[in-house]
Subunit: 113 residues, 2 copies
């Protein structure tokens, strides 16, 4: 507690609030890279699970970099994967589609009061 | 272009797409820290512009850290500020409120297909 503009003392954040904000920040962290967003967008745009080779084909980054981004997307629950022979296929989860939709929708908001 | 699972060659991402994804990633980056989210949440929860002293009172971080986060939120267009005498007051923009709402809403989505 410290001196404030009006003398009112504020209670610190509750532990439940802290845990919730940490989960939200984790989600935002999974979305905070343009290459990762491009990968999520390509996967979500496909009706069928998308083969990893179609990602590496379209992006100006190496295959290990694509794999790194896919791991982060998978750990955040934004995509799921299955292996078919030589190739891994990726599909967006409901959370992944919703996250992409929400973020895209925000771009329509004016940055004013 | 490289060998793919089906032999189909994919076109690279369009420059317009790249610019859009960079802006989305920038927005996600402004939201990817729990302390920054806590600050945005406190500001957005207040009907009136909120004095910076009420932020430093409630958070277990130093005043310069709070200032650092406020600068990032301001630069991303999520909050606006005005000075009244000794204190700076902060208000959430429409974009800031929408971003917080969108992110909170995502927590209700199941991380399944």
């Amino acid at each position: 507690m410290s001196r404030s503009c009006c003398g009112i003392e504020d209670a610190p954040l509750a532990p439940g609030d802290v845990a919730r904000l940490e989960r939200l920040a984790e989600l935002a962290r999974a979305l905070c890279d343009p290459t990762r967003l491009a990968i999520l967008q390509m996967i979500a745009a496909n009706r069928e699970p998308l083969c990893v080779c179609h990602l590496t084909d379209r992006l100006p980054v190496s295959q290990p970099t694509v794999s790194h981004h896919l791991r982060i997307l998978r750990e955040a629950g934004l995509v799921v994967t299955e292996r078919r022979g030589t190739w891994a296929y990726y599909e967006a989860t409901e959370l992944g589609r919703a996250a992409l939709h929400a973020l895209s929708h925000l771009m329509l908001e004016p940055a004013t009061r």
